[in-house]
Amino acid sequence: MVFPGVTALDNVDFTLLAGQCHGLVGENGAGKSTLSKCIIGDYRMTAGQLFIQGKHIHIPSYSVRKSHEMGIAIVHQEFQLMGDLSGLENIFIGRYEKKGPLIDWKQLQARGEELLSYLQCDVDLKVKVKHLRTAEKQIIQLAKAMLDNPKVLILDELTAVLQEEGIQNIFRIINLLKERGIGIIYISHRLDEIFQCCDRYTVLCDGKFINSGDVKDINKQQLVKMIIGRELKNVYPPKNQVFGETLLEVRHLCAPKAFSDVSLEVKAGQVVGISGLLGAGKTELIHAIYGNHPIVSGEVLVRGKAVHLKSPRLAIRAGLGVVPDERRILGLNMLYSIKDNTILASMGKFRKWKVFQDHGKEAKAAFDINKKLNLRYYSLWQLVSKLSGGNQQKVVLAKWMLRDCDIFLLDEPTRGIDIGAKFEIYALINELAKAGKAVILVSPELEEIIGLSNKVYVLYEGKVMDVVEGEHITQEVIIHDLLGVKEV
């Protein structure tokens, strides 16, 4: 599988037997989802072969519909349910049983109950899905996937949003399905689960096949090693070690359903990493500090003074700047030019007679800052949408550097940008620290966090699991914290 410029999956072998649960593990971006999308025909493989029940599949004519006919079903971590419809309708949507022109509700209800009894679960099918508990919604999704008696079932991070009880129920169902000869591909970040329910494992790293084998032959330590896999490449500039006063302090911040009792501290010149799995509350934390996510208790201190940041406006005034994770939606105005995006947060600096904006001054300032960031563009008046991802991200950074913020909140600053641009962003983060700025860095890539941070806070299910500083920042330590297992 080749994406423009990137080989997302490189020469990967994968075999699934009937009645087997096969765990697919690896870091974010390792190629797990890409592989599952190739299997269901959502992406087209550029090389290689696919066999389903021994039958060779003709790749060019393979599609999601075809894979469905071949008996492959997938359950995603995100709910693909319609909240205002009942569980029953969600299961059968588009495939209603009919009696003449009318829907045969009795028949549907009977079949729905049959499905649930097959899964040995009890969920009220008449209730609107939005009123169901998370675990029950997952059951509805599973039931929907089981509708056509699939031979292969892909569970993509199904348990990421579930509590312990719900996870155990999923394991029970997996065992049930295995007994009935269904092959399951199980994708999860939580390594404990691999040992609890999988028979085999396959480790991917950077799109490459690392290892495959029986789960009973390995222990967790070995698996973790395989996932990390390689030496840290020397792509990170030396970390700044000269710190100043504490610029930002967060005390006992709580936001319902996102995180609770989070305290952290960032000094001038320091890069503080925040690590955590999907749903650990990282993005919400950044937004809460920035005044864009409601909090119920706790306080934020800037330069030792308590500030009440009710809105991003006030946060910016206090010296904060944010590089949000969704660059195209939250970071930039795609209808705006490079110049206008760059000066958006500091328009007040470029006035003529106190009222009018001076386009000349604005352009000069945008030109200077973008030159510093080595932005590649042909005109300041060109729309940002025409830039590459890496260059767009530089414009977002330029916006806050021009504003001369003291505290930078960077939420996945290297998401979706190519490797060369990544290195430039790393260098920029380093320069910000050297210039005495405080930087908070959120990233799903451990390497990045480890390579750049002076201090790392690890979030697990919305709580600070651990704080690691200096030399203690290693992959092993953080991975264990990430997974919620304390003992090393």
Binding site: G331, Q357, F367, Y377, S379
Partner: protein, 325 residues
């Protein structure tokens, strides 16, 4: 030295491409073509009187459209302008003629009323999270009800002759409404292109979430757009009222459609974030020239509805299907 040179090179606006320049000012080129064809084909059209007449008739509707422009710029819609116009006309005439309120105070009061309606529209949309289409449609009917109750649907005539200057006066050979439009348009152009607040409208319309994270007061801008729409409708309504010297409930009745057509014709994107003040003015002139030429050719006036409808469909089709990048 080389850096200055590089800056000059990178500061070139038109390196965005001639195509995007053409796309941005398409209405201007279309207008020039239409105007040229009209001049060549009709001797009656190219008289100074007729041209001035077109300009005069386009002025107040332009001013009203400039108000709607701000609302559409932030990807909302203000349906209540017809009622704001009717309300202004009736209450202004009522106060001056029936209650003997001095004209100055009557103007102040109708503006205050219009601003209040604008704030209500804005608050329902911004704080009430109502779709602006429904919020303003409801407000439109409520206001309509109120001024119909007050006037029983009858016109109120007898405004002083001096008030006629606003809609029908001349300065030299130029109609006063044209000068008024020029002042309003230039002021708003400076506002939208050269002030922080004005340019925030584009930012909010283009990407409201990103604007919020960049420190723009998105809610304030949202309400301000509806207030602008109401104020400019109010100015337009006073102008229309002064032409006949009477307050009339039906004065704004058929204007909404023309206003929408003008705003979109002027290059304003219905999805927000794009548009120019002078684009809207040219859009108004374009539509007025079409009306004028159809009258001169003595085509049944109902045909205007057909033609304008087709124009709106074509323009919106172009807007909806052109990739804005």
């Amino acid at each position: 030295m080389s850096e200055t040179k590089e800056f000059i090179e990178k500061n070139n606006r038109f390196r965005g491409g001639f195509k995007s320049f053409l796309h941005e000012w398409m209405i201007l080129f279309l207008f020039i073509v239409l105007f040229a064809i009209s001049c060549i084909s009709s001797a009656k059209f190219r008289t100074t009187d007729n041209i001035m007449n077109i300009l005069r008739q386009a002025s107040f509707i332009s001013i009203i459209a400039l108000g709607e422009f701000f609302v559409i710029l932030i990807a909302n819609m203000d349906m209540s302008i017809t009622s704001i116009i009717g309300m202004t006309s009736i209450f202004f005439a009522g106060m001056v003629v029936n209650a003997g309120v001095p004209m100055f105070w009557a103007v102040v009061i109708v503006f205050a009323l219009a601003i209040a309606v604008g704030i209500i529209n804005g608050a329902l949309t911004v704080y009430g999270h109502m779709p602006s289409f429904i919020a303003t449609l409801t407000v439109m009917n409520i206001i309509k009800g109120i001024y119909f109750i007050y006037s029983k649907g009858l016109p109120i005539s007898g405004l002083p002759e001096s008030f006629n200057f606003l809609g029908a006066g001349y300065i030299g050979f130029i109609p006063f409404p044209v000068i008024l439009l020029l002042i309003v348009a230039v002021t708003l152009h400076m506002f939208t292109q050269h002030t922080e607040l004005g340019r925030s409208f584009y930012a909010v319309g283009g990407n409201s979430e990103a604007s919020k994270l960049s420190g723009i007061n998105v809610k304030f801008i949202g309400i301000l757009a509806f207030v602008f729409s109401a104020i400019l409708s109010c100015i337009g309504a006073l102008g229309l009222t002064s032409k006949t010297l009477s307050g009339n409930v039906s004065i704004g009745e058929n204007l909404l459609f023309d206003v929408m057509t003008i705003v979109v014709l002027g290059g304003t994107s219905l999805t927000g974030g794009r548009g120019k003040i002078f684009g809207v003015v040219i859009g108004a002139l374009f539509l007025q020239v079409i009306s004028n030429i159809m009258i001169l050719m003595s085509i049944n006036s109902y045909w205007q509805w057909v033609v304008k409808g087709i124009i709106l469909i074509v323009v919106v089709l172009i807007d909806s299907n052109s990739k804005h990048d």
